[in-house]
């Protein structure tokens, strides 16, 4: 499942590469103003959904998860549409889920080669990891990673509330509450030119959302 926003240059590439490793590809175009929707269709995506306006990563992820569940998906892999994640790793995620009987597998850029990660992102991600631990007791080396695998149990248990980037932390908070088994595997931090990703201001928005989630909004 690939949430996408204004990634017309990369969406086709990521869909074609992902198709080699999965049964079906779902793309949620989150109100893009470019040709992301058309490019995804051209690349032969199995399910394409289009939000008429931009609602954020969390909202797009939830839309994709609903469709996956309705179509009897047993495992759902989420990855970014900007080539930040290498689909070749998908098999490692599935292997980990099945062999170790894990509910959620997270691809951690801090366990893999992260030399290419800009310093500001390293600081920001580490800060958000620390905050996740402080507020919700989440022990993760990469709470913001979008490369994840979920089994059906996890998808049914987790309640996706937030619309923005903070959903990444929220999922881990929910997993902890429902005693789901979470494991991390190393992935390399890839930073292509087309990267849309998070900014310093989106980091602040994640922080505010996490604080509001903590006080029980």
């Amino acid at each position: 499942m690939i949430p996408a926003y204004n990634t017309e240059k990369t969406i086709g590439n990521i869909i074609k590469r992902t198709k080699k490793y999965v049964d079906r590809v779902i793309v949620v175009d989150d109100g893009s103003s470019d040709n992301t929707y058309q490019e995804a269709k051209k690349a032969g995506v199995d399910y394409i959904l289009r939000h008429s306006i931009n609602r954020g990563l969390g909202a797009a992820t939830k839309t994709g998860m609903i469709v996956a569940l309705k179509n009897d998906a047993e495992i759902v892999i989420t990855l970014d549409s900007d080539l930040q994640h290498d689909p070749e790793n998908i098999l490692r995620f599935i292997e980990c889920l099945k062999e170790k009987n894990i509910d959620i597998v997270i691809g951690s850029r801090f366990l893999g080669d992260n030399k290419k990660m800009p310093v500001i992102k390293k600081i920001g991600n580490s800060g958000l990891n620390f905050l996740g631990r402080l507020l919700f007791g989440i022990k993760s080396t990469d709470t913001q990673s979008g490369f994840r695998a979920f089994n059906r149990k996890a998808l049914e248990e987790i309640n996706f509330e937030l619309d923005g980037y903070a959903i990444s932390t929220e999922i881990l908070k929910e997993a902890k509450e429902y005693n789901l088994k979470v494991e991390e595997i190393p992935i390399d931090a890839i930073y292509p030119e087309e990267l849309s990703g998070t900014t310093v201001i989106s980091g602040f928005k994640i922080l505010i959302d996490m604080l509001l989630r903590k006080v029980g909004r």
Binding site: Y47, L49, L212
Partner: protein, 112 residues
């Protein structure tokens, strides 16, 4: 004077960053809040004597500290309040947008 120059340089960099962010992503509520704080900081850095003078005139003993504290607290509370109610409205909009997207996808699949 050195403080003013240093503060001015830092604020200038932050302002350029914030303006380019607004140009790229648009102006939402939180960004607007940052912008207001930034403008207030510009006033403090550029005309400290002037703002101090006016506040003393209207009767504050330690005018600057007191006023900043009041403005900061009230704007924080107000911002959070507005932000929470905006998020509630946001949730309903997301639900409508999502249902629309799922309906459109089903229609597309049927047409194929």
């Amino acid at each position: 004077m050195i403080g003013q120059v240093f503060g001015g340089i830092v604020l200038f960099i932050i302002t350029i960053y914030l303006l380019s962010y607004i140009k790229r992503e648009g102006l939402d509520f939180i960004t607007f809040f940052f912008l207001v704080i930034l403008l207030s900081l510009w006033v403090i850095v550029l005309v400290p004597e002037y703002s101090d003078y006016i506040l003393k005139k209207i009767g504050f003993e330690r005018p600057f500290d007191a006023l900043i504290a009041i403005i900061a607290t009230s704007s924080l509370v107000l911002t959070l309040k507005v932000y929470i109610s905006m998020k509630k409205i946001d949730k309903s909009i997301t639900k409508i947008v999502r249902n629309e997207a799922i309906k459109e996808m089903k229609k597309d699949k049927k047409d194929k």
